[in-house]
């Protein structure tokens, strides 16, 4: 098959996403008061309602409704004051009532959008975008959201007796209703995405947004956030839509990108060979990096949807919506822009910090504890030195950033300091002082070290004088080593240059 970038020069991809997100931060299910659980033994959080016992009735979880309204507000949706729950019928035992309670034509949230900034190498998937045109930047794309509706998740089924738990060869299936009835919001985009990278960035942005709202743990890996992608292709310049295929089993951002990329190339190959793309559901196999047919869709399913008579209509009040609005925290893009202005951060750094609400608040705690001009160094430390495994406090980061910003230690030393204070709560400044690690800015002492190094490295000095100026880096390194890391590398560099120039 041809490469994606080549294919996309001739063909335009039209991609829409359906994203299911479990509201994992709630305590109870959507229509009953069973506890939400991930790891409990099978069928330990079930009641007459979520087991679909005869006579059981649903009552909606108020907080789940608040959460979906927050999700809608965060994606600029129009909140529909009047909406209904519907019953969507299909016979399959993962839904205990053999219908799913979901929403009808009117969802709680309609007609929103999410704005993407597509940067870096991924931006070049769009053939009209070239790095040469815009070397640092990328492009903006506004993706329309058709709707976000409220529904309930299905039970987990384990297929037994076949190979790898695959359904095709299973002899029986076991059902665990713990997950059945978990509050689930489904977001459907308009088919506005044009490259796999845009789809990937969309999902990333959506995940950041939902994480910031605190409505879900948004784990693609564990399945609390799931994404199906619809894709069709058409000749560049064509107006109509091609036949689409639907991609399932996508459990990482990379899988989403790769599955769509594969599918675009596959469809192009089929069409270029004079074939037709069939409307079908395809399954992404990450290990083989390909999609395979799961089901051919000939006619639309008839779910016999009708308004659920057991659930009273919704007519959300201004107060309710205002309460939800008040609970929407600062969103990643707003936060990024504020970081750029308030802390003079680089846009990319600000975006990275703002993406994860926990990282952002950690950064702001640390930023409060340093002089204003040193805040960018705090960002630098968090982005370049910290890893998830480090157990350091924001106060320690603030202290470390101040040391770096005042040239008291080098980056190399900073790494060492970080190792030493990891998990201890010790103040980096005190530790540096105790161990005498503070970087020297005493020019006379540094000059002595420089002279020692120049005397030793006769070869390099000769090379420098012969025009190989790059060798200065080696000499600075030698100075650092000789001073056991306590010298300021910039000062070493300056002194070395002076000395080498003088004695030329």
């Amino acid at each position: 098959m041809r490469l994606l970038r080549e294919v996309l020069r001739d063909w335009e991809a039209v991609i829409g996403l359906e994203v299911h997100t479990e509201l994992t931060t709630l305590k109870t299910k959507m229509f009953c008061d069973c506890r939400l659980s991930h790891d409990d033994p099978p069928n330990s959080n079930v009641c007459p309602v979520c087991l679909g016992m005869p006579g059981a009735l649903p009552v909606p979880n108020e907080k789940a409704i608040e959460y979906i309204v927050m999700a809608g507000l965060a994606t600029d949706c129009q909140i529909q004051r009047r909406s209904l729950f519907y019953r969507k019928h299909y016979f399959y035992p993962d839904m205990s009532k053999n219908f799913q309670t979901t929403q009808g034509p009117v969802a709680f949230c309609m007609h929103g959008h999410l704005d993407l900034e597509v940067t870096g190498e991924g931006a070049t998937e769009r053939p009209d975008f070239t790095v040469e045109k815009d070397p640092d930047g990328g492009y903006m794309a506004s993706i329309r959201i058709l709707r976000i509706h409220m529904e309930e998740d299905a039970a987990k089924m384990v297929h037994v007796g076949g190979s790898e738990g695959r359904i095709a060869s299973a002899t029986e299936s076991l059902i665990d209703y713990n997950r059945c009835g978990t509050p689930l919001i489904e977001l459907v985009t308009q088919p506005d995405l044009r490259t796999p990278e845009e789809a990937r960035v969309f999902m990333e942005r959506l995940r950041q947004t939902f994480l910031t709202l605190g409505i879900s743990d948004c784990s693609l890996e564990s399945g609390s956030m799931r994404c199906d992608g619809n894709v069709s292709i058409r000749r560049r310049g064509a107006r109509g839509l091609g036949t689409k295929t639907e991609m399932k089993n996508i459990n990482s951002f990379k899988s989403l990108h790769d599955a769509l990329a594969y599918e675009i190339c596959r469809q192009a190959e089929v069409l270029e060979a004079g074939g037709v793309v069939r409307q079908e559901t395809r399954h992404w196999e990450p290990s083989k990096r390909r999609t395979v047919v799961m089901r051919v869709k000939e006619t639309a399913d008839d779910y016999r949807m009708y308004p659920d008579p057991d659930l009273a209509p919704f007519c959300l009040s201004d107060d309710f919506v205002a309460r939800c609005r008040a609970r929407v925290p600062e969103l990643p893009l707003e936060k990024r822009d504020r970081f750029v202005v308030a802390y003079a951060l680089k846009r990319a750094d600000a975006a990275q910090l703002a993406a994860d609400p926990r990282v952002a608040s950690f950064f702001e705690e640390a930023a409060c504890a340093v002089a204003k001009e040193h805040v960018p160094m705090v960002a630098n430390v968090i982005i370049n030195l910290l890893s998830a495994t480090k157990a350091v406090t924001s106060a320690q980061v603030a202290s470390l950033a101040t040391l770096l910003a005042t040239d008291a230690i080098t980056f190399m030393q900073a790494r060492e300091v970080l190792e030493l204070v990891d998990g201890t709560g010790d103040d980096p400044q005190r530790l540096v002082d105790e161990r005498g690690m503070r970087q020297s800015t005493d020019t006379e002492a540094l000059a002595a070290t420089v002279d020692e190094v120049l005397a030793r490295c006769v070869d390099q000095v000769r090379q420098y004088r012969e025009g190989n100026k790059k060798v200065i880096g080696y000499l600075v390194g030698q100075c650092m080593r000789t001073s056991r890391g306590t010298g300021n590398p910039k000062l070493f560099n300056t002194i070395l240059c002076e000395r080498l120039a003088q004695e030329g």
Binding site: T28, I167, D302, F314
Partner: protein, 112 residues
Amino acid sequence: MALTREDVRDIADYARIALDKRELDEMTSYLNEAIEMLQPIREYDLAGVVPTYHPIGDLCNVMAPDEPDAHGRALAIDVALGNAGATRDRAFRVPSILGNGEVDGRCQTSAS
């Protein structure tokens, strides 16, 4: 536009009710008779009439707080599984989803 036996068989397939030949004949004539009885519904001028799905007046926004097991309804495992015809350990058990070569759409464990 009477329903044919084939129409009725499709409806029964959808509703997952196996019918034998005699039942299929009976159901076909029943459905046609019943649908005939429903015709008055189509004789009114209903333009602009708002449907009433719930005969509950202005009642709306009925919700419950997010409190675990507030009503003590959680079922013990033996009660939860007690009426099931087939179980294994703590799970409900069903036969193979797909027969030989049958294609069924519900390959996912997730609802969508």
